[in-house]
């Protein structure tokens, strides 16, 4: 199944992001950023299956620092 990821640098950022989305009724799950997307760093991502564009906009509006976005196939 295709999901989208918003990649964050830290646990604090990812949890703040999840809370922002939860308040707007957007479901997300915290996962460790997949190794191929880490670019030699570590971090956490929000796995989002619906309303991704809206989610990304909300994260940007809140000025939560991110490390990028990606599409992943998780079965």
């Amino acid at each position: 199944m295709n999901h989208n990821l918003i990649i964050f640098h830290s646990m604090t950022s990812v949890l703040k992001g999840r809370e922002v989305l939860r308040r707007r009724g957007i479901a997300s799950r915290v996962i460790r950023t997949p190794s191929q997307l880490r670019r030699g760093s570590c971090g956490y991502s929000l796995l989002i299956s619906r309303r991704f564009d809206e989610a990304l906009r909300l994260i940007e509006q809140e000025n939560i620092p991110t490390a990028g976005v990606a599409a992943v196939d998780i079965s």
Binding site: H9, S10, M11, T12, S13, K16, R32, R39, C42, Y44
Partner: protein
């Protein structure tokens, strides 16, 4: 034991705090480091504490709530982090060594500081004293919200507003006031708030908070792993990671969160009312006790924290505390309370004072027992 040493650390702690620490010990993994469920859960626990602390201090940036070892570490982060290139600082005449000693140590790097006199009961004069102490090269104003020895409350909102006018960062030492006085980061001009987690917030010892409400970020005192941006050799600039190297005190922070929730449930106004009523009762009873010397005006909410400092006859303060402990099972703190400046203010630097600080767990009967004991001691003086 009747415990009035709440200015050093509150005791007892709420049961919810003890349970939260135990739970974290039984279930907690290292937060923010790994991807497994236990680590993520531990990270959530830390984040919840940031959210609850931010709410308590009316602050909209939970990510700018930094966990520290204690208030002293938080203050050192701000003082050393902002002044490491030199400059001038202004402090009050009631400061704790947590403020005084870092500034003394920075003298070797060219830092200078001025002491603004606090006028008990005269906010106007106190603010004027701060204004007069400012210099062209003043880079920081740091002061206590309330004296840890005498409870005297400073007009910190006005001092912070003064600093904002002159674009000088303002740091508040809220070690004695967090959980006792309402503090709003949103409505005030406080740039950095430092506090202990184990006093009026009822958390475990070894916890403290630094709230950063400024773009001006002090240099970090220690550097190391943060679980974030690990490929980068420099410390991350983002908060709270910039100031949180190494494994955090998860059980302590779990307890701190439970303590903050306890304070929120009780309500700060209710806590202040209760503690102040006890402090006033103690003050009134001691004021009619022969041979007892009080130093401040009667504690009132807008001018004092619920702290009463006194001496008995010609006894050394440590002697009185020792008799209270040995003969009456009462715990107080005596001596200089790590605040020599405050003692110089009242000329008590040689004998110190006996200090009783209230918590939500104290009651009238305990205050009466303390007064009875002081009465007996003073008759032998």
């Amino acid at each position: 034991m009747i415990y009035f040493d709440n200015g050093a650390t509150t005791f007892p702690k709420p049961k919810t705090v003890v349970n939260a620490v135990n739970r974290a010990m039984l279930t907690g993994a290292n937060p923010g480091r790994s991807g497994h469920q236990m680590s993520v859960r531990a990270g959530e626990l830390l984040y919840q504490c940031r959210v609850d602390a931010a709410r308590l201090f009316d602050f909209d940036k939970p990510e700018n709530v930094v966990f520290t070892l204690n208030c002293t570490t938080a203050l050192n982060t701000v003082i050393q982090g902002l002044l490491r290139g030199g400059g001038h600082a202004v402090i009050s005449s009631l400061e704790h060594n947590a403020v005084l000693r870092p500034l003394e140590a920075l003298k070797s790097r060219g830092v200078t500081y001025s002491v603004a006199g606090v006028e008990e009961g005269d906010s106007e004069q106190t603010v004027n004293n701060f204004r007069r102490a400012l210099q062209r090269d003043t880079k920081l104003v740091v002061c206590t919200h309330a004296s840890n020895v005498f409870g005297i409350r400073l007009p910190v909102e006005r001092i912070a507003a003064l600093c904002r006018i002159y674009h000088i960062p303002f740091c508040l030492d809220a070690a004695q006031s967090a959980g006792v006085f309402p503090i709003s980061m949103r409505d005030s001009c406080i740039d950095y708030l430092c506090t202990a987690g184990h006093k009026g917030l009822y958390g475990p010892m070894g916890t403290g908070l630094l709230l950063v409400n400024s773009e001006r970020l002090p240099h970090s005192l220690i550097q190391g792993g943060t679980g974030s941006m690990s490929a980068q050799r420099k410390m991350p600039d983002m908060l709270p990671d910039r100031y949180e190297s190494g494994t955090p005190n998860l059980p302590g922070i779990a307890g701190l969160d439970a303590g903050i929730q306890f304070v929120s449930r009780q309500g700060i106004q209710g806590i202040l009312r209760h503690e102040l009523r006890l402090a006033q009762r103690l003050y009134d009873m001691l004021s009619v006790c022969d041979g007892v010397q009080l130093y401040t005006a009667r504690p009132e909410a807008d001018t004092h924290a619920p702290v009463v400092s006194f001496n008995v006859g010609n006894y050394d303060s440590e002697e009185v505390a020792s008799v209270l402990n040995d003969r009456y099972g009462i715990a107080v703190r005596a001596g200089l309370h790590c605040a020599p400046l405050a003692h110089e203010y009242f000329e008590t630097q040689y004998r110190g004072t006996v200090r009783a600080v209230m918590s939500v767990f104290n009651n009238n009967a305990q205050v009466e027992r303390l007064c009875e004991a002081i009465n007996k001691i003073s008759k032998k003086a």
